[in-house]
């Protein structure tokens, strides 16, 4: 790991000012950034430590939840009231990483974690457009079993690794962002960018901006939710495929549904066609199967990850059967 200078500001304003210096990076829990720095993927001259900022609390009220960006993953997942209101988020958090990592990692940092694409994380490979714009993509013709089948471009097919983000997309959450120019709220469905020609740009965050909070709408009446994660080993692993489903049930039928999936897209993947098929649907295996059949619409599998299409459909089917049971 290269050396750096460490700034430890106590206010948001001081943190934003400290990040004005060239090659500065913010550090929160540090569980991802430390890995990237050790592997020389990130080589900041200056780290701005966010831990001293007053962003480590969350509230749940009639208007929904406001989660400070520095709340630790474990603290949010362990809160009984939060678990009751937002089971899909709590399940996604507990399915993430390890107990030790969850004790360190923050909500804001989780949303900004970088892809697990091995070519991105190994500087021994010259070609990675995300790490070195214009250098090519080693994954498209390489080892790509874990890569995206949705949202990829000729320049990048890396998946987004966050489970939390998938659950928040299904809840229509918003991200509160602050920079020297002020504060703004961005719907999470617009927060992440498709790779296109610029895979090095992953979110709408501008340089020097930080996430200050995540805003989650109140859970509706009759709403049930669930997060299902499938992976190569039982725990402490990133998703091959995951599904976040939020279903409003009325008189034995599905009134409305919101569905997002992880492990399949270059960003947390919302599935509007499935949602449309589920609206007003009966809770029968046939109706669910009809909706699930549209899950992989537009998928473009690579040489090694075609299995993600049926896995995606089956994961979604199981999540829907669980939540409507």
């Amino acid at each position: 790991m290269e050396n750096f200078t460490l700034a430890m500001p106590a206010t948001i304003e001081a943190a934003l000012a400290a990040a004005q210096e060239p090659d500065a990076k913010f550090i929160a829990g540090g569980t991802d950034l430390m890995q990237l720095m050790k592997d020389h993927v990130e080589r900041p001259q200056r780290l701005v430590d966010l831990e001293g900022l007053p962003l480590d609390t969350f509230t749940i009220g009639a208007d929904g939840a406001r989660i400070g960006a520095l709340v630790r993953m474990s603290d949010l997942a362990d809160d009984p009231a939060f678990r009751r209101h937002y089971p899909v988020v709590a399940e996604a958090l507990v399915a993430s990483a390890s107990p030790q990592v969850r004790n360190m990692a923050t909500i804001g940092g989780n949303l900004l974690q970088r892809t697990r694409c091995g070519y991105f994380r190994d500087v021994g490979f010259a070609a990675c457009n995300k790490r070195q714009p214009g250098s090519g993509c080693a994954a498209i013709q390489g080892v790509n079993r874990l890569h995206a089948i949705l949202g990829g471009s000729d320049h990048c097919v890396a998946t987004h690794a966050s489970d939390l983000a998938v659950a928040l997309v299904a809840l229509d959450a918003a991200i509160e962002v602050q920079g020297s120019g002020g504060t703004r709220n961005v719907p999470i469905t617009e927060f992440y960018l498709l790779p296109g020609n610029t895979p090095e740009r992953e979110t709408v965050l501008m340089p020097g901006e930080i996430i200050t909070a995540v805003l989650v709408p109140p859970s509706g009446s009759g709403e049930r939710s669930h997060y299902l994660k499938l992976r190569d080993r039982a725990s402490f692993e990133f998703a091959l495929v995951s599904a976040a489903v939020v279903v409003a049930i009325e008189d034995g039928r599905i009134r409305a549904a919101r569905v997002a999936m992880g492990g399949v897209g270059t960003r947390p993947w919302r599935l509007p066609a499935v949602e449309a098929a589920l609206a007003s649907a009966a809770m029968t295996p046939e109706a669910l199967a009809n909706a699930v059949a549209q899950a992989a619409e537009g998928a473009r599998p690579l040489a090694e990850n075609g299995f993600k299409i049926p896995l995606m459909q089956r994961a979604l089917a199981r999540a829907l059967l669980t939540v409507t049971a």
Partner: protein
């Protein structure tokens, strides 16, 4: 500490010193020159106090020094192990302010004012912590390299109230990898502590 342990530790220390001499004689310098690595940036050293196992230590660290390296290289508390150095194996698990964390992913300079507990801080009045005793009684190890991290994680797991079933223990111990595969005995040791306590 028995005779064997003392002599073994002395042997390891002497070997490490010999390795250091070999490095100073130019072997690793030549390797760096060949790979064309850029010169290391001059660090701005940080003076700090690190509280470990109830004792305060005055330290001067580089900003990039991890808690793991500060414990092992500066304080010579080598019970905490470096496995993957990437947060993936759990061998470096310690408690910071009562929470289990990966010391390899923690910057030492960010631990000022916090209380760190390592495997060396578990025993009381010369008596092993019940979890240490249970790992011995149940053979919860083969090579033993992951054991300090396993025990630190297991102690935290019980305090967190997670040890409610075999599957819950397995899930909440998943941040600690055992290359020898002693998982069955590790599970038995943890259950023993829960049932005995």
């Amino acid at each position: 500490m028995n005779e064997f342990e003392v002599s073994r530790r002395r042997f390891i220390g002497a070997s490490a010193a010999a390795g250091g001499l070999a490095t100073a004689s130019g072997i690793s310098c030549a390797a760096v020159a060949q790979t064309g690595s850029p010169p290391t940036r001059t660090p701005e050293m940080i003076d700090m106090t690190l509280e470990v196992n109830g004792r305060r230590h005055a330290l001067t660290v580089e900003p990039r020094t991890t808690l793991l390296d500060a414990l092992r290289e500066e304080l010579r508390l080598t019970g905490t192990k470096k496995g993957c150095d990437q947060g993936s194996c759990g061998a470096c698990t310690v408690h910071v302010d009562g929470r289990r964390v990966n010391a390899c992913l923690t910057l030492a300079a960010r631990c000022q004012g916090k209380a760190v507990t390592t495997i060396e801080g578990l025993s009381r009045d010369g008596e092993l912590h019940p979890m240490q005793a249970a790992f011995l009684a149940h053979d919860g190890l083969q090579c033993g390299y992951c054991t300090p991290g396993q025990i630190m994680s297991a102690v935290a797991l019980v305090e967190e109230g997670r040890a409610v079933s075999d599957s819950a223990i397995r899930e909440w111990m998943s941040g600690n990898i055992c290359r020898c595969g002693a998982y069955t005995h590790i599970l038995a040791a943890i259950k023993d502590v829960v049932q005995g306590g």
